[in-house]
Every structure is written in structure tokens, then in C-alpha cells.
């Protein structure tokens, strides 16, 4: 599932992405477009990217963050509805510089009634500072009106929520997000559980049943032919339908129920995509790495 399957509607809106060089603007934009991390060379001057999501046309201006290009920012900003100001949360030595640039934009942002969304990027880097610390260090409490979110354009952490916020600031519309699973679990190839994560909005926690775990263990022992679809479903009276799929090193499962309002097939493909993402990005022998990537990835699907 691309991030975009979850949004809808209308005319062309302009947003500019500002922030110091190396903060991650181009990486964020390409993540929004492609739903995955792509490495970039620095942006020369500026680049505009048009996107359309369910009939909504958006023009995203990816501005070069180098000193030489900052003179271009104000000119683009004036006709925008949203300014997304990106900060590298793992580069505290550049906070003062970032704050200086942000401050110089504030009068124009106010005058033209532009929405300001601050993204604290690179959350995946262990030295990245917390939002509270960032707000204090950049004295953001002095800024009139803004939204701030923590993200990683590398792992995808917070990207779906950030895009939902961005979209509603840009279009004035609420986004409709399809929840594709109630719970997601990942097991190693022997069937030992590694991590389970739940839909944030679910009040009741899902009970993982004994029968389900037995099925996982049996599934882990089944030899799969290459061309055979290594995916099974397990009906549970109490919970719903567990979908279980196998990849090279892992077994994953999602819990699907009719009240999610999405077809079972969509949850199945989301599960397969998640396993492919884990195989490509996580160190499959390291349970911490898998747990970390599942948590990050799941912000996009539950």
C-alpha cells in the first residue's frame, strides 16, 4: 500500500519545503511520493514536484537549503498555503542556524496567513533530540501558530501521520485513513514471537490465542514451494481472521476483522509488503532491529 491510497480530493495547492541543507526535505518528498526511502544528491536551487492524490493536485516546492539558495525561499513562500520547515533533529550544532532561518520567515508566514508545519526529521538516529527538547532549544514557544511532528524519512516513522496533517493544512480537508489491520505480529522463522503491535485506536487489546500460536508453529515447519503462495488464514471466533505469511527469514501475521471496512485482500497485501520491507531493511537475525522496524513501519498500516 502506498501512502497515497489513504487520501482524497480537489484542486491544486502549493506547499514549500524549507530548512537547512541536509535536513531531509528531498527525502521526505520522495517518501511521500514513493512510500519508501530514496537517497538524494543535494538540491540545486529549487525543484517543483506535482502530485495528485484522489483528484487533489498539489505542487510541492523542494527548495535547496544551502546558504546560496536561501534568498529564493521568501519568493516561493508568499504564494504557498503551507510551509513545511524541516529540522535535522540529530544535528543540534545547527539548531541556532535553523532557528535564525525560521525566524526570518515568520513575518511573511504571518502576513500571508500561511500554515507552518515543522518536521523534526531523522528520529531514527539515536542522538536525535526529543520534541520537547527541540521546542525548548529553538524557543519554538515564541512562535505564534504552528504544528510540529517527529518523523523519520528513512524508516517511515510518523510519515503517515505527518502527511495526514500536511494534507489537511493544505486542503482544509480531513483525510480518510484506511486501517488495514487490528494487530500485527512478527515471528522468527521458527515461530518464536518477536513483536506484536496494536492499532492505537483500539481500546481493547487483542488476545492472541493458543490455537493461533500452534498454527504459527506448524506453519513455520511447512516447506513452501517457490511458486506456492506462502500465506494462510486462521479463523478465530473471538478475534476475527488472522492472516499469516512467510518470507525468507520471518513470519508475519495481521488480524483482520470486517469492521475495519477494507477487503481482506488489502490486508493480505499490506502484510506481504511489510515482510518485504523488513527483509530489505531490518537485520533479520537481530530481534531488536526487527521490533524497531515493525514499530516504525506500522505507523503506516494500523
Amino acid at each position: 500500500m502506498g501512502l497515497f491510497d489513504i487520501f482524497r480530493k480537489s484542486t491544486k495547492h502549493k506547499a514549500v519545503f524549507l530548512g537547512l541543507d541536509n535536513s531531509g526535505k528531498s527525502t521526505i518528498i520522495s517518501f511521500l511520493q514513493e512510500g519508501r526511502f530514496i537517497e538524494h544528491t543535494p538540491t540545486m536551487g529549487k525543484k517543483s514536484v506535482d502530485m495528485e492524490i484522489g483528484g487533489t493536485r498539489m505542487s510541492l516546492f523542494d527548495m535547496g537549503g544551502q546558504q546560496d539558495f536561501r534568498g529564493l525561499w521568501l519568493g516561493e513562500l508568499k504564494s504557498a498555503r503551507v510551509v513545511t520547515f524541516v529540522i535535522d533533529a540529530a544535528a543540534p550544532q545547527r539548531f541556532a542556524e535553523a532557528k535564525g532561518e525560521l525566524d526570518s520567515l515568520l513575518p511573511a508566514i504571518k502576513e500571508h496567513k500561511i500554515h507552518l508545519l515543522i518536521l523534526a526529521n531523522k528520529h531514527d538516529i539515536p542522538s536525535a533530540v526529543s520534541l520537547t527538547k527541540l521546542i525548548n532549544e529553538l524557543k519554538l514557544f515564541e512562535v505564534d501558530n504552528f504544528e510540529i511532528m517527529e518523523i523519520s524519512a528513512k524508516t517511515g516513522y510518523g510519515m503517515a501521520d505527518a502527511f495526514a496533517k500536511f494534507y489537511s493544512l493544505l486542503t482544509g480537508e480531513k483525510v480518510k485513513k484506511n486501517v488495514l489491520a487490528k494487530a500485527i505480529s512478527v515471528f522468527d522463522k521458527g515461530g518464536t514471537p518477536i513483536v506484536t503491535t496494536y492499532n492505537k485506536n483500539e481500546i481493547e487489546r487483542v488476545a492472541i490465542e493458543g490455537g493461533f500460536l500452534v498454527a504459527i508453529t506448524q506453519f513455520s515447519k511447512m516447506k513452501m514451494n517457490e511458486d506456492e503462495e506462502s500465506i494462510i488464514t486462521f479463523e478465530s471466533e473471538k478475534n476475527g481472521t488472522f492472516v499469516v505469511a512467510k518470507s525468507k527469514n520471518l513470519i508475519g501475521s495481521v488480524l483482520w476483522t470486517t469492521d475495519l471496512g477494507v477487503p481482506l485482500e488489502q490486508s493480505k497485501s499490506a502484510l506481504k509488503e511489510m515482510l518485504a520491507h523488513l527483509e530489505a531493511n531490518a537485520a533479520c537475525s537481530d530481534t531488536n532491529s526487527i521490533a524497531f522496524h515493525v514499530e516504525h513501519y506500522c505507523t503506516n498500516i494500523i
Partner: protein, 171 residues
């Protein structure tokens, strides 16, 4: 056969490291700071991506560039954006279309290397290209050999209508 067509060739870069700005890393022949600024605007145009050829006009000059990503010095840092830019006089003597074909063939011979080599090597590369095309000689860099006169002959390229000596500064 000497073509004496390239007035200047430069290696331009926008570094991938934090705090970089566009810069000219090396030129044959040397150019002034003002000329560097003018050249950078054309050799690395706004929004350009690696892998592209660019043809720009600056007053009475053509600027033909190849833009690529240049390996970062430090691991974990994104690559630089770089370009090899050639300045030609925009007059009747010069057939820019033919030159573009030749330039593309020369660049494509190195393209597999170009993303990997360092600044020092790239500086040698531009010097060899300058001499090779201007003097109509073979260009050889490491294992790559480009026989400029035979390309010109086989592709029936007419780079210049008359041969003239050019000297000195250009932009």
C-alpha cells in the same frame, strides 16, 4: 587535426556535506570568481538531477554540461552533485550539435567510472578531455581510451567550419 573548440572546461560541485555551496573545483583554463558564479548558474541549473546533459547559452557562449553524482568522501554522507561543463564560443564557426554528440560519446565512455572517482582524478579527466578534443588526440584515462579523431570521422562530425587559434580567457 586540431579543433581548438573548447575555451574552458570546469568541474563544478554542490557538496553533499552540511554547509556546502555551489563551487568550481577546477578549470582549464583558469577563470575569475565572477566568471565562476556565471558558469555555476548554467552548469548546475536549478532542479537538475544526476545523469543529465545540459545545453545552456551565456551571452556569446554555449555551455554544455554533464551532471552526475560524485562519491562522498565520508561514509554515511550523501553524494555530491557535480558537473563537467564545457564552454564553447557561440559563433558560426562552431557546430554545437556535432560537439554535443562527441561530448556525449566521450562522457559515456567514462560514465561507469565517473560516479566512483575522486576529485583529483576528475580534475585530470577534464584536462585530458580539454587537450584531447582541442588537439584532436586520443584521450586515455586509466583503462579507457577514446580516439577522438576516429569518432569525428566515423560519425561524420563537423565540429568547426574553419580552424582558428584561440587563446586565453573566455566568459
Amino acid at each position: 587535426m586540431a579543433f581548438n573548440i573548447i575555451e574552458n572546461i570546469s568541474l563544478c560541485r554542490l557538496g553533499g556535506f552540511a554547509g556546502s555551496n555551489p563551487e568550481v573545483l577546477g578549470s582549464v583554463l583558469p577563470i575569475s570568481n565572477t566568471e565562476e558564479r556565471l558558469l555555476l548558474d548554467k552548469a548546475l541549473p536549478h532542479g537538475i538531477e544526476p545523469g543529465k546533459f545540459v545545453l545552456e547559452r551565456l551571452n556569446n557562449k554555449h555551455i554544455i554540461s554533464y551532471v552526475f553524482s560524485m562519491k562522498a568522501k565520508e561514509a554515511g554522507t550523501r553524494d555530491d552533485l557535480a558537473s563537467i561543463a564545457v564552454v564553447l564560443p557561440a559563433d558560426k564557426r562552431v557546430n554545437v550539435e556535432s560537439f554535443q554528440i562527441l561530448f556525449k560519446l566521450v562522457i559515456e565512455s567514462f560514465v561507469a567510472e565517473i560516479d566512483k572517482v575522486d576529485v583529483t582524478k576528475l580534475k585530470h579527466m577534464i584536462e585530458r578531455i580539454y587537450n584531447g578534443i582541442n588537439k584532436g588526440e586520443k584521450i586515455s584515462i586509466d583503462d579507457v581510451n577514446i580516439d577522438v579523431p576516429s569518432i569525428v570521422k566515423s560519425k561524420k562530425l563537423h565540429l568547426v567550419t574553419e580552424v582558428e587559434r584561440i587563446a586565453g580567457r573566455i566568459l
